[in-house]
Amino acid sequence: MTDTTPTNSLFKTSDRTKSRNAAEKRFRVYGIIAIFIGLFMLLVLASTIVLRGTSAFQQTFITLDVELLESKLDKKGNRNIDDIKKVSTFGYNPILVNAVRGSLEKNGIETSLKKKELSGIISKSAPSQLREYVLADVSRIGQTIEFRFLANGWIDGYLKGRYTRESVANSKFASAEQFDLIDELIKVGVVEKKFNLDFILGADASDQRPEASGIGVAVVGSFYMMLVVLLLSLPLGVAASVYLEEFAKKNLFTDLIEITISNLAAVPSIVFGILGLAVFINYVNLPQSTPLVGGLVLTLMTLPTIIISTRASLKSVPPSIRDAALGIGASKMQMVFHHVLPLAAPGIFTGTIIGMAQALGESAPLLLIGMIGYIATNMPANISEGLLAPNSAMPAQIYEWAKRADPAFVERAWGGIIILLIFLLTMNTLAVVLRRKFERRW
């Protein structure tokens, strides 16, 4: 059987081996390609987020000297706040137009634009900004004050390259002449693009004013939701895990609980939304669109994750510790609460943070409990309002923006995603650090 003729030399790779090795190489290349596709997709996603989202943090501003004309704002001249309140935001428009004209004159720029087009370069939120300023202190009427207004979304879009003179040729919202004027104003420094803190801290605005909308209120909404999730899911999750891991006898009932938990972990999130709508809103009559309901739904969704990770960290505490505690006469409850739980705590917190990060990014259930289609304009004033007043949440706000027609909102949606991801990244890093720092290997 054995064949030791030189044709069988090890130094000569047979044709068959060559083709087998080629197949081997091909297979290996497939693997590398698969990894590269995966990493490439991540790269595409990450660069899309950065490229499309970072511009949301900058906004075009117009700085104007505004003369708060008494003739327009307080015709009677007696500074009676009730009379001044009667001047609607609409009444502030002429003042803005004058301010633009004044600025043009000062800088020696000529224009053929009409009133409406002149005020059109400024955000529609400018008049109410002025009005609030005046109502805060009526003695300001008559003075000339420097204001920084948001530019209209179309102008902002022009500066960010979203619109060109050609693309607005048939638009009724912006015109090439306006863009010409803006070019002039940029040269003299009246119009400039600057970091916009209001995007991060501010409230959402109606779909007429993309430039004025911010994600701050939604961040607060998310925060209150996470507060509910934390306060409910941590104690409940730990209690359930302790029971199942340390006390439950193996019987049909505990088996049922185990199976239920592992299945709940894989139930589509939207089903939890349906549950929330049917039970919390329709049945228990909790108020719609509120962080409380959102938090309850997300708690139910997150609990299985937290229970699974908590049980894993309880399991990792070695039996010797338990034996030691029981051996000196501690009751089982004392053993668990004095020894096992403290040792498992880092693992439990890590699992909880990861579960909460998941909940923070979840949007589908929030759609069903009414956290979209709602314009979150007011910061909640206190905790009870934070929990019980309708609000939005980060992912819901992003979805809301993604649905709106104006492309300026798409930019904001991507910007919102950057903020959401910063939160998620922070939470996950915290979890990793916790694990690294406190993880014990027994």
Partner: protein, 267 residues
């Protein structure tokens, strides 16, 4: 019987050219120097046993002989191992082809989760040793016969190999290894997971295999080494301490360490 075996041993020893020649083989696992300067000549048509306490490097050395250590990233090997005057660590050598010539049987029976037939046919198939189905059937039958298990499995060739008993599984694994008609058969403690009866069957088989193959066996059982081998190498702490005729090693060892091990003082 004893005379018979002795005369066999004489015959094999006079056979002349060694099948495998190892020269100054060193193996490192990252910082650990696992095998130190091992040189040994392994002969054709004989059973060579590697013995020594666990962790002495005997299995490591065995795995060097068909380059199984290549699959471990951190393993580094220096020195030369010649298979019939060809350095198996030469850049031109494809380990895949080498392993077809140097088969291996492992500590734990490891049949693939396939039928008995597919287990045996696996090697011939990947190496393209059979040109048609009937030739493959032939190889399978021959291999099973030579592994002395044909009668036990011939009626259930389509049954999964994992369903057999431990001893049967190990003999199927041996049949699988000889199905590619290797020159050398390496066995890494082939009986350590088996009961005494199965062990006896496998040992008997080893003695028969010797007629066609160069067999190298690693064992931690000195009795087994004494029973089946003609030549014995004793490893200790990564070094080859002593190598010679089995009879001599067990009756009149030169090195005091060998004696200590044989008499049970170290191990």
């Amino acid at each position: 019987m004893k005379d018979q075996l002795n005369s066999d041993r004489e015959a094999s020893l006079s056979n002349g050219m060694p099948k495998i020649t190892a020269e100054n083989v060193n193996v490192y696992y990252e910082e650990v120097h696992a095998l130190k300067d091992v040189s040994v000549k392994i002969e054709q048509n004989a059973v060579t046993a590697f013995i020594g306490p666990s962790g002495c490097g005997k299995s490591t050395f065995l795995r060097c002989l068909n380059r199984m250590n290549d699959t471990i990233d951190i393993c580094k090997i220096t020195g030369r191992i010649l298979l019939e005057n060809e350095d198996i660590y030469d850049a031109k050598v494809d380990p895949v082809q080498l392993r077809a010539k140097v088969g291996m049987v492992f500590q734990k029976p490891n049949p693939f989760p396939k039928s008995v037939y597919d287990n045996i046919a696996y090697g011939p198939r990947i190496h393209g040793l059979a040109s048609d189905k009937s030739e493959l059937d032939d190889i399978v039958e021959q291999s099973l016969r030579r592994a002395a298990i044909w009668d036990e499995v011939k009626d259930r060739l389509d049954a999964p190999g994992t369903g057999l008993s431990g001893g049967q599984q190990q003999r199927v694994c041996i049949a699988r290894a000889i199905a590619t008609s290797p020159d050398v058969l390496l066995m890494d403690e082939p009986c350590s997971a088996l009961d005494p009866i199965a062990t006896a069957q496998v040992e008997e088989l080893i003695d028969e295999l010797r007629q066609n193959f160069c067999v190298v066996i690693v064992t931690h059982s000195m009795q087994q080494a004494a029973r089946v081998s003609h030549r014995t190498a004793f490893f200790h702490l990564g070094s080859l301490v002593e190598f010679g005729d089995t009879e001599k090693i067990f009756t009149n060892p030169e090195d005091p360490r060998t004696e200590s091990y044989i008499t049970g003082r170290i191990g």
